[in-house]
Symmetry: C2
Subunit: 189 residues, 2 copies
DNA sequence: AAACAAAACTAACGATTGTTAGTTTCAATC
DNA sequence: GATTGAAACTAACAATCGTTAGTTTTGTTT
């Protein structure tokens, strides 16, 4: 077992605990118990509790940033771009629902450089989204509501997927994508 | 200054700190500093840190429960009921955005009876919402998507309002209600 | 079987946590 | 001006926190 594998196991176990109680409420002894070892042994594989958090969050944030940049730079129509954003969120959620809890709720416990790095990525992400919606309204592809409301309502649904999707056992990923796109784009009435 | 007033001030200051860092990461010394007093002095007005959290959360949860029960028992049409739910969330958000952070993110740190009480209220709330949507699809008022997706996507937007609305300076409450209802019900396309 | 490295362990540290006990300050009431 | 009660204070507690140092176990390679 390579050390990197063991670190990944620790990060994964930490993701689950952080999801349940939040970063601050999870102790290194809690995490060690979940791994079946003692707290001090964790430090053979990681440098600090903080390193675990930043690994979880920064990796995910970079994944979203890359995905959004590709979509943003493409020459698709607005509606297609928004559909791609929805799919991006669903894909990431399916792959790492636990980690998304930290991304959403524990980012403020990042320290120094990583906090700034995260906040810049989040700002850029939201701004890219905003620009896409802006162009969509100009091209009459999207109704001319307050842009912030559209961005916020869409994004908050996508960001909260991690809480909800793991509980749905009988929904196929492709059906979820289709229905989610319909609900978010065309409404429910 | 009546003791009840002072307690309310403490709860309000705690709501702001809990919103910024979460319940577990806020110490009684942090809270005392925000109040301009020493940590031990807080205990002249409150019984424990836990009491502050349960005051914040249970009060809000009961407010939502009462609102939902009224809407649920009314004889309005489905669409009107959903509009009323949207208004309920906006009203509560305007009145106590800070406390909603704890309701959303720190409920798991409630102890014993209050945790069970909260979880029952949350379950009933979601179930009432689900029944309303269910009836709406049967009456053809609402498109027949997967009901869980509709409930989830609507509720996650409404629950996250507290994060977003305080940042919007120039949106009037009535305009917000109208646009939010349009976006959630009719979609953006 | 000897040697070695990875990964576990025990024990402990200094700092911080929520909270309590006992005391002082201060404004209102008599 | 003496009394009183609310609300602040100082000092300290036992428990727990993240982390470190030093040691032992384990499994693989020679």
């Amino acid at each position: 077992m390579k050390p990197e594998n063991r670190k990944q196991e620790i990060v994964k176990a930490a993701s689950i605990l952080f999801k349940e109680k939040g970063y601050s409420a999870v102790t290194m002894r809690d995490l060690a118990k979940a791994m079946g070892i003692k707290a001090a042994s964790l430090y053979n594989h990681i440098q600090s509790k903080q390193e675990i958090l930043s690994t979880i969050i920064i990796d995910l944030a970079e994944e979203f940033t890359e995905g959004m940049n590709k979509i943003s730079e493409s020459d698709q129509k607005t509606i297609q771009k928004i559909e791609n954003i929805i799919e991006l969120h669903i894909d990431v959620t399916l792959r790492n629902a636990d980690g998304l809890a930290s991304l959403n709720n524990d980012w403020m416990h990042l320290e120094e450089d990583n906090l700034q790095y995260f906040e810049k990525m989040r700002y850029d992400y939201e701004n890219n989204f905003r620009k896409i919606v802006q162009k969509g309204t100009e091209d009459k592809e999207i109704k001319s509501f307050n842009i912030e409301i559209i961005v916020f309502s869409t994004l908050s649904t996508l960001r909260t997927l991690y809480l909800w999707y793991p509980k749905q056992k009988d929904i196929d990923a492709d059906i979820l994508k289709k229905d989610m796109i319909s609900v978010l784009l065309s409404g429910i009435v």
